[in-house]
Amino acid sequence: MERVIGIDLGTTNSCVAVIDVDGVPQVIPNRGGYKTTPSIVAITEGGRRLVGHIAKRQSITNAENTVYTVKRLIGRKWDSDPVRSVCGTVSFTVEEGPHEDVRIKLRDAYYSVQEISAMILQEMKLVAEEFFPGEVLNRAVITVPAYFNDAQRQATKDAGQIAGLDVIRIINEPTAAALAYGYGKSMNKVIAVFDLGGGTFDVSILEISEGGVFKVIATAGDTFLGGEDFDHRIMDWLIDGFKVEHGVDLRADRMALQRLRDAAEKVKCELSSVSEADVNLPFIISHGPDNTSLHLQKPVDRETVEKLCIDLIERCRELCRSTLKDAHLTASQIDEVVLVGGMTRMPAVQKACAEVFVREPSKGVHPDEVVAIGAAIQGKALLDEQEDLILLDVTPHALGLLTAGNHFDELIGQNTTVPTSATKTFTTSRDNQTAVKILVMQRESDENQLLGEFLLTGLRSATKGQIEIEVTFSIDSDGIVSVFAKDCETGLEQSIQVTSSSGLTAEEVSQMMASAEEYMIERKGSDELEGVRQNAEKLSADIEKLFPQVEALVASSDFGREALGKAREVLANTKEAIEKSDLALIKEHSEALSRTLKMFKGVVSRPT
């Protein structure tokens, strides 16, 4: 069976996993040996694209062209509060795109959020492909926060498509974590997953049944509550303190801001294991007429940070309580609590979670890797007919239609197991009304989002309330919403399949796909060059090492001197080819080099 990769596309870090042939989940490390890769993309001055750790390392010196936290922007409208809030805090430039979407400016080029996400996905694909040389890994399951809406899911799918992936399913992060937790074990348990990641918070309650059935009972979350919000609180506190002390606002300096962001994240992480740490940022800004350098030096203790973030933690607690209520369960009926996401390392978060669920959380899973593993498990379960595991997930948002007076009439409730369908009968609201407009809505928190709309025309002219229209909503297992309206009198029907728009046209997506593919080819080409170059350099070094020995043995004869001359020539030519980065030429000289090395070795090992 073809391997399916599971990708956890996170706000701050991403992770990729596969299920081995023998059924063992495996998280794939990147070139640097790390199992997670920062979700950061940068374009260098030379136009080179950097993704992951190398992008993070240069983020201070190249702050304007380094993008992070794109997950907070994906599938969102330009004119929305989250986008405005991100715009105010990031060091890169965000602008309005042609379809009310968000575009990111990097070195004079504009990129859609999906494209940036695709670059990260491409990197994860490469990480996996390097780990399994010779294999092309196209099939993927990608995870999203459970509370993502339709547009955000579609945008994530588009990002996968741009990256050249066949996204067989989008699944929810807490659900994926539950799959990883219960995979391969036979149990009857009710578990709660508490997932506080870099950008989002989700809490899900699931029932796991023997035979590998995972049924989500209830889920809730906040797509704008995560580690970054904790960082911002610390940052703001540092900036405000600095302003009081020196009268200088660090917000104006992008480089200072980037350093502060890193420092805030670092000190937050440190405070998970120690109770006091220092923020030390020398030469943070130059100030005044004589450009005096100012330094930021401040001790931070755990208590201060907890106080700064008290409302964020309270929000998590509140969502946990409401999820329990939605599930019609009490805390004592939960058998196990699973912690997911890096932020759950914070003692105050653990404490809050333990308080709500009245039990110590399980430490059995790795909070950073479990989601990717779950995605890989779901991929295998879908494609492998031998696999019994099945996931029964729910729709996180209620679906309905808008009736007269802008009233949201719910057809499919929040936390309904999919696939599902529901039918309701409606009637006309005016006399002689011959058409009705069906406005398909998704309710997110207290806001209604329009998913699609259509008209049912040709109704008989009658007084209001006489005509009956039957409306059926259905969601299939891929999460695709179909709506079907029928005039009960004439039998006239009209239906749509809601294809949520992610903010890009099909044409744009295919255009972006093409350029992503180009990059991939280029990148693979440069990978090849790198390999050939390293090989040639190694051969050269080996030859040079043997040179004095060989010289001593053969220099006495004319023939030997000629051979040494040729060897020197080859070494020089190779060096030149490497400097020119000429792949074909290096390859050509490599052959001569290995021949030379063989000869040298032969010479050295001559019997005396």
């Binding site: 004119d79 929305s80 602008e95 309005e96 795109g97 042609p98 379809h99 009310e100 575009r103 080029a109 504009y110 067989i168 023997e210 035979g211 059935v213 049924k215 019609h328 379960a381 879908l382 019994d388 099945i390 996931l391 029964l392 239609l401 808008l402 009736t403 007269a404 802008n406 009233h407 197991t417 696939p419 009968t425 409606f426 009637t427 006309t428 609201s429 005016r430 009304q433 011959t434 058409a435 009705v436 407009k437 406005l439 209604n448 329009l450 699609g452 709309e453 259509f454 008209l455 025309t457 040709g458 309330g465 009956e468 229209i469 299939d476 297992s477 006239l492 744009e508 255009q511 350029s515």
Partner: protein, 384 residues
Amino acid sequence: MASSGGPFKLGSDTQTMGSSMLSIPRRLSVEPRLTLTTAELHLLDCVDGSLGAEDLAFICGRSVAEVAQMLARLVEAKVVSFEAKAPIPVLSAAPKFGDEIELALTFRAEIDSISARLESEDSYQLLGVARGATKEDIRAAYYRLAPRFHPDRHFRKKLGHYKQKIEGIFAKLTKAHDTLRSDELRRLYDATLLRSSRSVSPAAPAAPPIAAVAAPSGFPRASVRPAVGTGTPSGSVPPFAVAQETEEQRHLRRDALARKMSRIPQSAPGTASSRAPAASRSDDPPDSTPSAPSCAADAGAPAYEKVKGVRSSDAEIFRERFEGVGNEVRDRRLARYLATGEDAVNLGDYRTAAAAYAQALKLAPENQEIALRAKQMANLAGIP
């Protein structure tokens, strides 16, 4: 596509193949004309056009004579044939089983039987538990049954109309489980069961009014445009007026943004127009309705007249279907007819709609949906 080989080449291939396959049973792509036993359905599942009677006997654990007898029944039911393939194969890459649905026939029979009693059975019967069942009984029954009917079990398989049936069964089972495992819902449900066993029709609640658009004839098409504003859409006309900016201004601004953000250099307008989204957008009339597929417009001649003008004979359709690019042409024409039909329905012109759907049905006679629609339109237009 089918055009590459041409009909003659395909025909001759089949002939040579056919002679060697005379004694091998082959599956036909029709529903059985007789009611088959489970054993016969299983045998039918195994018939793949390569196994002979002896192989099948081995698989089924029966004697060759028995299998031959069963095969005879299958031939009688018109689902198996021992004859060579029909002279015009549709495509060389036909599915292995000669059947577009990738589900075992035994499972299909089970799905059909459950679907048939889905409406009449109560939640207890569906889950196969007694009225007094404990929560644990209900849990166990649900987790045993429901996963079998989850579409993920048949991921990326062609399920045809069985997809809906499976999803219907799954949804019903889930509803039954969710109801019976909640004390409160179960009490209410039990009460309704009791009531419905006494009186047949409970009073139906009044239907709530739908968001209305008062639309006389010639419905203004502009209002069908998908909402682009972020405000809550309302039913009144014009529904999506944005205060400061007119529709046109917004389009101009969007186009400008699209041009700005396209990575194609501005100096080459020729290439830019082919890649920049702005170009295609500006071609789009701002009031194109989403309910009518755009193929009606870009096919050249106005689709509306096309239907009135064209009275394509069966011979023409036949030629299109079997010659060269038949399929492609047919699909395009089908889409055009359907779009015209849809447009006509929106305009209230049922005669045109009926004509359009009748044409569409000729192109796709096996499509139940189109057949239904054509019949409805004919009724509405008063055509017998």
